[in-house]
Symmetry: C2
Subunit: 619 residues, 2 copies
């Protein structure tokens, strides 16, 4: 068996398989992703197949899930890029073989199993079709199909599941959070412009009660936002420290971004994936400054925008920042704010004058943190800089964000400084989808959410139950029955179609046996049946029909059409969400998207089911 010649990107081609280009397929991002990253039973089964000479029988496997996570109506498919890297480099090392040979469970195995079979095994006989990475996917529709000899087809099962399950789960979670953060709909366009805010020119509404005006302005109604401003908070991933170890964190960063997040705090993800990173400072930074003396000498060069583009003036003198800050403190009568905190903000300001964003809840959010931020902001602004905002990490985020916004707007009028209208209010502290929805209902002034634990751990449902099932062997369809109806398999190799309606939205997905000649066609009526419930059926005249799988890996030629890029996939996710029925995106009790089988497939499934089920006897 020769190695797969295609450890390279293939040139893109409409036909799919073509000659390979020079660019080699990278190895998996994680050095643990090797053929041994699998369950032992894959190896014991491989031996039993080999021993009984079944290992080369042609087989067909489907990787799919049975239920959408988070009580939702859809799942985003992710992880394909790492699957392709794994397949392209699949090889047991000599060291791996040595280990297996000495494993107690395998020590009795015939040497030829290791020497002739495992040692020479690669994926040159494996053919993989898959949905496009980032696709909205639905229960029972395969994400990936594998056509391969029984032995190798089985040996890759666990690794494929590992590489798809969590990425798909966290991408879906991220997407749901982004949808929730933005209110009802998500209509971001590529390039992600900053969130629209009230312009500096339009003075914010006021009312006699200090906050009522602002609260009202972003109150949600059943139908969506009634805000006079179009506020679309962004989401940033902060979860590394709470993830399942280093790689859990890395995967979380990557696939949250793919699902619509704007950035991650994870520097390594930024480096390895070329994605935006974000971060400013922590409580410890504030605590570490114990007195104002520590920043007495902190100086800053004034900044003057020239010709529309900000450039630093070279000749200007460095200016001490603290005296300006203290003058404002005196003038505003805010002498009681925490000195250490004020020192920390001054220290941060001279280090990051162009991106000054402070965590304000170390001692007291409104009495100390907010005021200290304003003092340093005014001084920075005097020197020509535009402060960026604040972060809240505890307390009532709705109340505090509105209160801060109110004070900012008050300061904008009092001091005639427009930047106060444009400040970011970042909120973190155990944010999840339910908190986002609750904040929308309460009203808030948050422009950016930092989400960690609940994003990366997928707290609401920490695992996606993807499975990898044998559906055909020797061209014979195989079924798996079970005491649990949910675990019954739709047997045989199938082709999947997405049928679109006149409105341009997907109507349903349809599974058709491969041998069936009658395929769905645009403009032609097709009967679509629920796979298990006889009474559920619907006739569809699709306006457009899209086949969901394409060839992505061909053993002989390796990876076809190159690896999907994260940016492209992210945009694809966004496009799909924007063309999805609103009821499918609903948080509570979303609509259900139909996954159907054709008339013939329905009958075929039920006949095989009958044949394979023994009739029980009760006495």
């Amino acid at each position: 068996m020769s190695g797969p010649s295609g450890l390279t990107f293939a040139m893109e081609d409409a036909a799919g398989i073509t000659a390979s280009a020079a660019k080699p397929v990278p190895t998996p991002s994680n050095n643990l992703v090797t053929p041994l990253l699998t369950d032992l039973y894959q190896i014991t089964m491989a031996y039993a197949y080999w021993k009984t000479n079944q290992h080369l029988r042609p087989a067909h496997f489907e990787l799919f899930f049975r239920k959408n996570p988070f009580g939702g109506s859809y799942t985003l498919f992710a992880g394909l890029d790492e699957v392709l890297k794994f397949l392209a480099h699949f090889r047991f090392s000599e060291d791996d073989i040595r280990f297996l040979r000495n494993t107690p469970q395998l020590s009795h195995c015939e040497p030829a199993f290791f020497d002739d079979y495992l040692s020479n095994l690669d994926c040159s006989d494996v053919v993989v079709h898959a949905m496009r990475e980032g696709s909205m996917a639905f229960p029972r529709v395969p994400l990936i199909t594998v056509t391969a000899p029984l032995g190798i087809g089985n040996l890759i099962e666990t690794t494929l599941l590992t590489l798809v399950n969590y990425p798909s789960l966290v991408a879906t979670n991220a997407c749901r959070m982004v949808v929730a953060a933005r209110g009802q709909f998500w209509e971001e366009t590529a390039g992600s412009s900053p969130p629209l805010r009230t312009s500096k020119s339009s003075s914010p509404p006021r009312s006699s009660h200090p906050h009522s005006g602002f609260r009202k302005s972003i109150q949600m109604t059943e139908g969506g936002m009634t805000d006079i401003r179009l506020r679309k908070p962004k989401c940033v991933e902060f979860g590394l420290r709470r993830a399942q170890g280093p790689d859990g964190g890395f995967s979380a960063s990557k696939y949250s971004y793919l699902g619509g997040f704007h950035a991650t705090s994870n520097v390594l993800a930024g480096k390895m994936l070329d994605m935006p990173i974000a971060g400013t400072h922590a409580h410890s930074f504030v605590q570490s400054y114990t007195s104002l003396e520590l920043v007495e000498g902190a100086k800053l060069k004034p900044f003057r925008p020239a010709a529309g583009i900000g450039v630093e003036t070279k000749d200007e003198e460095m200016v001490l920042l603290l005296p300006i800050v203290l003058k404002y403190r005196h003038d505003l009568g805010w002498e009681e704010t925490n000195d250490g905190e004020l020192a920390a903000f001054v220290g941060y300001a001279v280090s990051f004058p162009n991106s000054f964003l402070c965590l304000i809840d170390t001692y007291d959010t409104l009495q100390s943190g907010l005021r200290n931020f304003i003092l340093v902001s005014l001084a920075l602004n005097d020197l020509g800089y535009t402060p960026r905002g604040i972060r809240l990490d505890s307390g009532d985020l709705s109340y505090l964000s509105l209160e801060c916004e109110y004070v900012f707007h008050e300061m904008a009028e009092r001091c005639q400084r427009g930047f106060f209208y444009d400040l970011d209010i970042v909120a973190s502290n155990d944010i999840n989808e339910s908190v986002l929805n609750s904040l929308n209902k309460q009203g808030h002034a948050i422009t950016m959410f930092g989400i960690g634990t609940n994003l990366v751990t997928c707290q609401a449902q920490p695992a996606l139950g993807c499975v990898y099932k044998l559906v055909e062997v020797d061209e014979q369809p195989r079924i798996k029955l079970s005491n649990d109806l949910e675990k019954v398999l739709i047997p045989g190799r199938k082709v999947a179609y997405r049928l679109f309606g006149e409105a341009g939205w997907p109507l349903l997905d349809l599974l058709v046996c491969r041998n069936e000649t009658n395929r769905p066609t645009a403009g032609e009526r097709v009967l679509c049946r629920h796979p298990f419930i006889e009474q559920k059926r619907v006739a569809v005249v699709p306006s457009r029909v899209v086949q969901l799988h394409s060839l992505v890996f061909d053993g002989k030629n390796g990876v076809v059409s190159g690896l999907p890029s994260v940016e492209e996939t992210r945009q694809f996710v966004n496009d799909q969400i924007n063309h999805t029925r609103a009821d499918l995106l609903r948080y509570m009790n979303p609509g259900e998207y139909k996954v159907s089988v054709s008339e013939n497939t329905f009958h075929f499934l039920h006949q095989l089911w009958q044949n394979e089920t023994p009739v029980r006897e009760l006495r």
Copy 2:
């Protein structure tokens, strides 16, 4: 700044720090564990510290959690080994520096920050104390303390949290499951002998109703097991495919084992950590055998134990297995079992005759799977082999396991085969702690649990909230206040003691300020106070006092006393659990373990709290 000379194991020594031995400290298990595996705000803070010349101020940090996971009363500390590897190899690569220099947020930073500071930074000025890996730990008692200059002390925060949070969480989860699986108490001894069962000589109890006898025999009562047999099911980790990617799975395997699991299905974990692995076959294996013809030629060499040790006879003829199986099928009148399944079991038997364990729920557990297993087992046993058991992966595990056990015992009598009494009944399918407790109540005959999803994702609480806090800088204690009382910090550098009572069990943990001269001593009365609630206090006369932290990393000498071994740590966990008050191990509403402060520390904390809190004005 020179590199830490101690990238080696130090020789064990009572005093702690000694000369290094030759064995180098390995690099972290995961190639992603580098200084860049951190949040961006650690780097921006480092710059602000450097820029304001604070980066070399001596500081002290504590890594701790605020709440036990899973509603429990304890947490197992894990992950220290990888922390030490990370510290020993901490160095930004040239490539890392290049990336940081070009990061938009850092592009304005002075070149000297990269060239002089980051490029030369390592952990040679870092001193780390820690609890022993595997320790039972309690809220607010530091797991790890770091004494280091402010800059580097901060830069390692996120990575340390990532390396401790998940390992500790999953080890705790595993330990709780092991305790639950075994009934009330866990008293395993080292070497882990197989579970005690009814011996072959004692015939099992019978009753007129087919199952009542067995059900009753393992019924649980409030006080624990009343079983006539001492049944202690084992737990095996099956979670790789549902973990947070490859490394999530790898960490899960390692730390579940540490927490008391017996094996993992993860082959790579077996190879890299030298831990037991387990696995047999999946549904797909059964499905792939389509007819009996496929195993018509399957032969096996009879096996005869000689001189107490099993050895294969070399000269004996190979025997066809299928005819023997079919004869039993005919004799027992079980012609209706599924042929493909029977073929698969025959195929598995000739491949693994000494460890024959079958998954029996592919078509119908009791009517087909169980009977096919028995048929092949009888044939195998005729040839001198001892079959191992069955696995159930769906349905009512209590009912099915008891039913299978009943049939096994019936077969044992009917065919006079003792092996039927010793078969393993493995159960999998969404097992969690609550299911284990429920199975104990219902009664079951399961001897081994395969636990995947709920173990590795820690479904019941998917994150442990470890934090890393600055408690002292320039020898001044630092406090962090918060709108959330729970987030208030106990300031200053503290020493932690575990006070044991006369019964040999721990009574409470006591935190004492480092400067305090009055330390707890065996036999002397000490007043222990709740850190926040004035009224809660208790006087303790400890029989034994153990200081909880010891030096584990000294910048100048590297890792002190070597890395903890997984096996030793596992034993240490076991020993502690066996010496813990039973109420602390309870599933529902466990007792609370006290974490106290000394009288002086109490007053010091409350005074600092007052000083740093601004007095709010309400008008």
